[in-house]
Symmetry: C2
Subunit: 112 residues, 2 copies
């Protein structure tokens, strides 16, 4: 990130991230997990989990997703099966999977 970019976030997203962190923290307590235990399960450091639970927007999304999934905080929707439902419904799925494969089989392109 050259030239010291000061990134600003909208109030909405700051609230959203703070809420997500609070939900994660609450869910962790409900499951009687210490911060260290949850961090270990997610494969991250305890310090990173602390920042996630505080709603820090600079955390990598993969770490946040992993933690949220472990403690049962759902993304996109409160409904558990919504993601899978989306994955089935969206016609983008057809364009989705090849896209994630393209990098692996770089030059071939014989997949159609």
């Amino acid at each position: 990130m050259p030239k010291s970019i000061i990134r600003t976030y909208s109030r909405y997203n700051r609230d959203a991230s703070a809420l997500l962190g609070a939900l994660i923290r609450e869910a962790r307590h409900e499951r009687k997990l210490t911060a260290q235990e949850l961090a270990d399960r997610a494969g991250i450091s305890r310090g990173l989990l602390q920042r996630i639970e505080k709603g820090n927007l600079k955390c990598e999304i993969g770490a946040v997703f992993e933690v949220a999934t472990i403690v049962g905080v759902k993304l996109f929707d409160a409904d558990e099966s919504t993601l899978t439902k989306y994955l089935r419904q969206t016609k983008e799925k057809l364009a989705l999977l090849p896209k994630s494969v393209r990098n692996k089989s770089k030059a071939v392109r014989d997949d159609f």
Copy 2:
């Protein structure tokens, strides 16, 4: 990140991120925005937007949230007002706001 941690992600979250990226890309097309235009609006580089649309889990969550909000892809829920609803309902909000203020007024602690 010392010691070259190889972070693994669950299949669920890889799918979730890929779906989120696809939804963002689809929404961007619906709004007739070029990648450069959306990146400019979000204050990020075009390359980062590309990675977001590919569902790269190493992107910072703040950038993903900003982009998603701009093109109208909702987080947590399809309903627009769900976040604000949550923010009102959750009793965690009381513990939430002071937490985000604590860093600003570092040593004072006269807020109670």
